[in-house]
């Protein structure tokens, strides 16, 4: 025992503790620096192609440049306004002056479009007003504006301008969560008939969850089967798992349409076998979306599971059996917990990919199956509303990060072993 104890770590809580700890930390820091230098090129690449674009996109979700670019002076004045009574003449004058300056430019059009988003009809209000500018010398700006449109005499109109007088806005993010800022400047829920995004987000999470669970249920036994085969067989089986990657997603989705439609192979087979006497609706509804999504994402579940299972020595099961544990319980208590990192990685991968899926639901689903990314595409391609597109993306992004944090917390505390390795 005496010679042996020399190999045990000496207790750290002895006298020269502080210096030892600082030395350890210094040694580790040197190591980190060395590794840091090695990954620097990769880090720069990631910065430029990954972090920066995402950050720029996320910024778009709170960007509000239109009013401030069009009316910088008015905006500055309105920020000092109390919002109770109509603003004073200086504000009116500045506004009229700036209107005149941007008359006929795209800047005005952008500002008008932006305000019209919040209060329908504001575009025509702006256009009517701009026609009254520039003011004749000596004319009162207040009178001219109110003359052009009486709404300039209402505080609400100015409040709208004041609300948008800052370079950032929560409007898009709130809208993505079916909330808005009302005329009193309070955050309130949008009316039920306009509220759609919470439903869309919940549906996105729900569908992703179902797809992930189905992938896990199908993928786990398959991965286990492959991992327990001899190398040769396993390689062939893995090839089969990867086979779908050889064709494009679009082709596979199209193939599913052909297979699942009412006159498709699947329905014909079902009717031949007498399982059903009329064609089942298998596509352009949630069934079709689930079938295709599971099919497309299954390899992403199988591969991490397989690689983790491959690393679990069969000796553990034998050890459990030799300790008296019946086979099924051994599997559950000894094998299964060791596959958790694989389940976590595969689940996370499938879930995250699923949340961003666009083509499959848009081709195979009805409007009721559209997920968040459909609306992101809608806002970028059709209405050119970058703010909304970015806000929806940001919410998906934050949700993903949250999920990842939960995952690492769970796996981290559960699998202390992996960290110690």
């Amino acid at each position: 025992m005496t010679q042996y104890s020399a190999t045990m770590p000496a207790p750290l809580d002895t006298a020269p503790e502080a210096s030892l700890q600082s030395r350890l930390r210094r040694a580790e820091r040197m190591n980190k620096l060395k590794y840091g230098a090695l990954i620097l090129p990769l880090a720069i690449f990631l910065m430029l192609t990954f972090v920066w674009p995402i950050a720029a996109l996320l910024k778009r979700s709170v960007d509000n440049p239109e009013i401030i670019t069009a009316f910088p002076q008015t905006s500055a004045l309105l920020r000092g306004w109390n919002g109770q009574a109509l603003p004073d003449d200086g504000v009116f004058a500045a506004f009229a002056g700036e209107m005149a300056q941007i008359k006929g430019t795209p800047v005005l059009a952008a500002a008008a479009k932006r305000l019209n988003m919040e209060v329908p009809g504001f575009r025509s209000l702006m256009m009517r007003t701009v026609r009254a500018t520039p003011l004749e010398a000596g004319a009162s700006a207040r009178e001219v504006l109110i003359d052009a449109d009486p709404r300039w005499g209402e505080t609400a109109t100015w409040q709208l301008l004041a609300r948008n007088a800052s370079p950032y806005t929560m409007r898009y993010l709130l809208a993505s969560l079916d909330h808005k800022v009302n005329e009193q400047g309070k955050v309130v829920a949008t009316s039920p008939e306009e509220a759609i995004f919470v439903d869309v987000l919940l549906r996105t999470f729900g569908m992703s969850f179902v797809v992930t669970v189905v992938c896990l249920l199908l993928g786990f036994p398959l991965a286990y089967f492959i991992a327990t085969r001899p190398v040769k067989t396993a390689n062939v089986l893995l090839m089969a798992v990867l086979l779908p990657f050889w064709t494009s997603i679009l082709v596979r989705v199209a193939a599913w349409i052909v297979l699942l439609q009412s006159q498709g192979l699947v329905n014909q087979a079902l009717m031949h076998l007498g399982i059903t006497d009329h064609p089942l609706q298998l596509v352009f509804n949630s069934t079709g979306v689930y079938i295709a999504m599971v099919h497309i994402l299954l390899p992403f579940m199988i591969l991490p599971l397989y690689s983790v299972m491959k690393g679990i020595s069969p000796v553990y099961m034998r050890a459990a059996l030799s300790l008296g544990c019946p086979p099924f319980r051994s599997f559950w208590k000894i094998y299964f917990p060791q596959t958790l990192p694989g389940i976590g990685a595969g689940g996370l991968l499938v879930f995250i990919l699923c949340m961003g899926y666009y083509i499959t639901p848009s081709l195979l689903g009805s409007p009721n199956e559209q997920m968040a990314s459909y609306f992101v595409a809608f806002y970028t391609n059709q209405t050119i509303n970058w703010g909304m597109a970015a806000a929806l993306s940001a919410i998906l992004f934050v949700a993903t990060l949250l999920l990842y944090a939960i995952y690492t917390r769970l796996v981290g505390s559960q699998n202390m072993a992996a960290r110690a390795r």
């Binding site: 553990y316 034998r318 050890a319 008296g324 072993a417």
Partner: protein, 372 residues
């Protein structure tokens, strides 16, 4: 071969009867294995790689099913009993500690299955941790332990549920020499203290010689010899055992005459020697006489020996406490001699003529390997 067993009158703890095993239906990996293991015995299975040691152990543990024959534990046939019902503790080569459980959880695992109460469980775990001197490490994960500590945990886990017997398959193979020797002592002490029946598989013959009550020498799926360390070393049953255990000089010849326990052999070089008669050696048959290097005497020391031969010194290697001398005998046969350095240093040199002598009790006439 069975004279050791007669000392023990109680019925054997484990018996193998005509046990066979084939993986492919063509080759027998284990051929007609007959083996009695006594209660409280430390039995080692020793043999070259691929000789069927692990396979035999796995059949006893229940992970492999014998193709023929029967295995009894406490006189009950256990061929069909699944491994988890055999109550046999096992220490694996790479320990197989569950990586997602702490040391304590690993030790509690077999007890939980046996539905022990919490206090009883804690008592047993603490006791066994104490026995392997790991009391402070209960809350660590296996990866946070050194190889030797993991080895102790594996041993503790195999002991904690009071199994019928303990099987170990090269449990010390991954440790360095010093630690291995230390663990050999520790395992042996625990085995003796608890009176455990242990079946131990190893490659390492010095490990086998120091730890075992009896050693079973395997080759090609057949037990070549089974007996105590001294019996195996001093009276090998056949040339395979003689050359497998320790160093050995083998000279072939013809048996001329046979007396009670000795015989006269004419070596191929024409020299006559007196040798101890081994199993199955008969008059007129060919034989291999075998002698350990340390039993060969040189020059002055050889004077009193019954068998003396002349030769030339081919090579001398100095090893501190002893010399290794390669001697060429008549007929170009070479033998290795291990001589105490103090007696022979500077007495002769390479190329010198030299006398070698062997007493008949150290010269064994063995039947040429027929079994393998």
């Amino acid at each position: 071969m069975s004279d050791d067993q007669n000392k023990n009158h109680a019925e054997p703890h484990v018996t193998f009867r005509k046990v066979q095993k084939s993986y492919d239906g063509k080759n027998l990996i284990v051929k007609n294995l007959d083996l009695d293991i006594q209660r409280g015995e430390f039995l080692t299975l020793l043999g070259p790689s691929g000789s069927g040691k692990t396979t035999s152990l796995m059949m006893l543990a229940g992970f492999e099913i014998p193709t023929g024959g029967e295995i009894r534990l406490n006189n009950k046939i256990i061929n069909q009993v699944p491994p988890h019902r055999r109550n046999i503790g096992m220490v694996f080569q790479n320990y197989a500690l569950f990586p997602h459980m702490t040391v304590r959880e690993n030790l509690r695992f077999p007890l939980t299955i046996r539905k022990l109460g919490a206090t009883e469980m804690d008592r047993k775990v603490t006791k066994v941790l104490d026995m392997v001197q790991l009391d402070e490490f209960g809350d660590r994960y296996p990866q946070q332990l050194s190889g030797g500590q993991q080895q102790r945990v594996a041993l503790a886990r195999a002991l904690v549920f009071d199994p019928e017997l303990i099987l170990m398959d090269e449990p010390l193979g991954a440790l360095d020499k010093q630690l291995r020797e230390h663990m050999q002592m520790e395992i042996k002490h625990i085995q003796q203290k608890l009176g455990l029946t242990v079946v131990f598989v190893t490659h390492d013959q010095s490990e086998a010689l120091t730890m075992s009550d009896r050693i079973a020498i395997f080759n090609d799926g057949v037990i070549q010899q089974i007996g105590s360390s001294t019996a195996i070393y001093e009276r090998p049953a056949n040339p395979f055992v003689a050359s497998f255990i320790g160093e050995n000089n083998a000279l072939s010849g013809l048996v001329e005459t046979v007396a009670e326990s000795t015989c006269r052999v004419r070596l191929d070089s024409g020299v006559y020697v007196h040798a101890t008669l081994g199993d199955g050696v008969v008059q007129g048959a060919r034989t291999i006489v075998s002698v350990r290097p340390e039993s060969v005497q040189l020059n002055v020391q050889s004077l009193g020996c019954a068998n003396r031969m002349g030769g030339y010194v081919k090579e001398i290697t100095y090893l501190g406490d002893h010399l290794r001398v390669r001697v060429e005998l008549a007929g170009r046969k070479e033998i290795m001699v291990k001589a105490p350095a103090a007696e022979h240093k500077h007495r002769f040199d390479t190329g010198d003529a030299i006398h070698v002598g062997v007493n008949p009790e150290h010269l064994l006439a063995l039947a040429p390997t027929a079994s393998a």
